[in-house]
């Protein structure tokens, strides 16, 4: 088993390396001279050469890449072209916002999605199941920005017009300023993300539970007289954990870099909005840093899920 995990780890590292080559090559073949961007439009040729040299852009590509990788390993992702700050620090300053967004939403969507899925699976064909299915179909189809804007209009603007502030329009309040303020500011983004994801989890839980509830050991559990909720929650839900954790790991990993749109709609200054700003300003070191960080999160979450599976799935323990 340890051998398996080591194998996974190696493949994770290879994927990250491939990703770094991908972004690096992308920006090397990109038109436009970054030195010109920093030095300004009117800079003379000597200044331009100086800047090019300082950035190491006159070296051959493979040297630039090796230099970049060796720096990256020690946590140095270069300096932002735009505001001359270290990329690592810039990203780190944005992480709390993104973590708050994803962390809160995860709790919320699990709390909505899984119980709805269980209810659906234990009452197949009834109105409860139908309703849950229709809702999940609806929210699975909702584009995130449309839902975000609808919610903002309904829960912020309409109350506001009647001189009543139900929720703030967006922005981020630091956790240091008090938990209530923080949660209040994050409620709408959480709700948006959670509704979208809960729909998926309702479907997953339902499909898995329906599968499990037909198994022999569930019949045995019922036959020996266990109360129904023990059968469902202890024996039934237990076996859906494998699928749910797999999906959850993948979702958290991709959301940590991919909640770009929700951050944009609610004006949250997270990693995603950093990516958008740096794309708009052609700030290449920051884009490379964010893409690598995104890949890192995804790969690490997948790895974590694999390790978790060994703990959850006795058949994998050998």
């Amino acid at each position: 088993m340890i051998k398996n995990i080591v194998k996974r780890f190696v493949s994770a590292v290879i994927i990250l390396l491939a990703l770094s080559i991908f972004v690096f090559a992308l920006f090397y073949i990109a038109p436009g001279n970054p030195a010109r961007l920093i030095a300004g439009e009117k800079a003379s040729q000597t200044v331009l050469d100086q800047v090019t040299h300082n950035l190491g852009l006159d070296k051959p590509l493979w040297q630039q890449y090796l230099l970049f990788v060796s720096h990256a390993l020690s946590g140095n992702f270069g300096i932002s072209y735009r505001n001359q700050m270290p990329v690592a620090g810039l990203i780190a300053s944005r992480l709390p916002v993104t973590f708050s967004l994803v962390g809160g939403a995860v709790v919320l969507w699990l709390l909505i999605g899984i119980p709805l899925g269980v209810v659906s699976a234990t009452h197949p064909g009834t109105w409860k199941d139908r309703l849950a299915q229709i809702l999940s179909q609806l929210f699975i189809s909702f584009p995130s920005f449309v839902l975000g804007m609808f919610l903002l209009y309904l829960l912020y603007f309409l109350p506001k017009r009647h001189k009543f502030t139900l929720f703030p329009p967006g922005g981020y309040s630091q956790l240091a300023n008090g938990f209530a303020q923080w949660a209040w500011h994050m409620t709408l983004p959480w709700l948006t993300l959670a509704l979208l994801m809960a729909a998926l989890y309702q479907r997953l839980t339902r499909a898995e539970m329906m599968d499990v509830l037909g198994e022999d050991y569930i019949r045995t559990a019922r036959a020996k007289g266990l109360p129904e909720h023990t059968v469902i929650y202890k024996h039934g839900l237990r076996s859906t954990l494998t699928v749910l954790t797999t999906q959850l790991g993948a979702d958290i990993g991709s959301l940590l870099s991919g909640s770009i749109i929700i951050e944009q709609v609610f004006g949250l200054q997270g990693v995603g909005s950093l990516a958008v700003t740096s794309v708009n300003t052609q700030d290449r070191p920051v884009i490379i840093g964010v893409v690598l960080l995104g890949g890192f999160f995804i790969v690490m979450m997948n790895l974590l899920v694999d390790v978790l599976h060994v703990a959850l799935e006795p058949t994998l323990r050998k």
């Binding site: 449309v146 509830l213 870099s257 929700i262």
Partner: protein, 376 residues
């Protein structure tokens, strides 16, 4: 999946007890008729009301997209023309829905209805074309990897894994920032990130199919690899391909709209739904002009919803063993091990359970069941 079905001929016999109409029942005759697969599927689909409503909406939307110039002529408004006198109030704010501007106007005085009609062209074009291209790549990669196995499989599977682990929205932004936003670029990005899941599913299916007796029979008759792939394997993949292409369309549409929303997709002034929504979001314009979000948002939602419902309906119609039909059975016979599968990827993977068991030994199965949803 359908071991015996489509293999060689395009026809399948549907016994009358599944597809009999009331006339037959009244006259007491049990007529056996032969239905082509297409007609059988169409009949089953017709019985699914939600799918038919979804299909109606899609047909309507296609008509709107085709007739966009007609709509522009009827309203008398061009798609990019700005009507600063009639479309804006004296304060410079857009006017709401009225007799002249049916869906209201935007902040520059353009007609929302006409923009939506032209935006439908972009959405449908990107959605359908990108989804078909994505499926094409998925089939090529999946069949090659699954059929030939060995080193080719290793390399192709690693590439698929790589594309699946890429943070797709970020990479899409990086790609667009380098090559500049355009509709072609947008299409390329959407295709690039949308084939991997389907490719993996097809690979798993091919791995199961190639061990089947009919493939062995074909090979023993001296059929070449290409003949086996084209005549024996591909027809058996047709259901998967149809279902995944249909279900890929909404995610491609949302992906395009997301890119346009971030200003990295279709370049204004070409109208696109994502672009319209992004204009509405700018300076919270939609707070004073909610129709700027409501109509494009509604159209976008209805489109993705319709394609999703149609995709689900098609899956049920193409594979009557799965989905809702089982549910009906289960109510009568409790305890039957459910084949029910609501989420497509899980469904397709679990269908090839022999293959899954083989994968599990290598500790690979876990990430196979992951479903990726685009555009978050």
């Amino acid at each position: 999946m359908n071991d015996m079905a489509v293999h060689d001929s395009e026809t399948a016999v549907a016994a009358s007890h599944t597809d009999s109409n009331t006339d037959d029942r009244q006259s007491g005759k049990r007529r056996i008729e032969q239905l082509s697969t297409g007609r059988a599927v169409w009949r089953r689909l017709q019985r699914n009301k939600a799918s038919m409503i979804a299909l109606t909406f899609i047909v309507l939307l296609v008509l709107i997209a085709i007739c966009a110039p007609v709509i522009a002529t009827i309203t008398g408004h061009g798609p990019t023309q700005q009507y600063r006198n009639s479309g804006l109030t004296d304060n410079g704010l857009p006017v709401g829905p009225n007799a002249v501007f049916w869906f209201g106007a935007d902040q520059l005085g353009r007609d929302e209805l006409v923009c939506i009609a032209y935006g439908a062209r972009v959405s449908l074009l990107v959605g359908v074309v990108a989804s078909i291209c994505g499926s094409l790549i998925a089939v090529i990669v999946g069949v090659t990897a699954g059929y030939f196995g060995g080193l080719i499989d290793d390399v192709l599977s690693r590439i698929t894994d790589f594309v699946m682990t890429m943070p797709f929205l970020l990479c899409a932004l990086a790609l667009v920032s380098v090559f500049g936003a355009s509709i072609q670029m947008c299409m390329f990005v959407v295709v690039f990130f949308s084939w991997a899941v389907t490719g993996r599913v097809i690979r798993a299916q091919v791995q199961v199919l190639k061990k089947k007796e009919f493939v062995e029979a074909a090979r023993s008759l001296g059929a070449s690899d290409s003949s086996i792939i084209i005549k024996d394997i591909l027809p058996n993949l047709s259901e998967t391909i149809i279902v995944y292409t249909t279900q890929g369309i909404p995610s491609c549409i949302v992906f395009e709209a997301s890119l346009s929303f971030l200003g990295m997709g279709v370049v204004p002034p070409t109208p696109s739904w994502g672009g319209m929504l992004s204009e509405a979001a700018n300076n919270s314009m939609y707070m004073v002009a909610p129709w700027m979000v409501f109509f494009p948002g509604l159209f976008l939602l209805m489109t993705t919803l319709s394609f999703n419902i149609l995709g689900d309906g098609l899956r049920d119609a193409l594979d009557p063993k799965s989905g809702r039909r089982i549910l009906r059975k289960r109510r009568k016979k409790k305890g039957v091990r459910a084949l029910a599968s609501v989420v497509p990827v899980v469904a397709q993977i679990s269908a090839s359970s022999d293959d899954l068991a083989a994968l599990q030994e290598q500790g690979m199965a876990v990430s196979d069941q992951t479903i990726q949803k685009k555009g978050r």
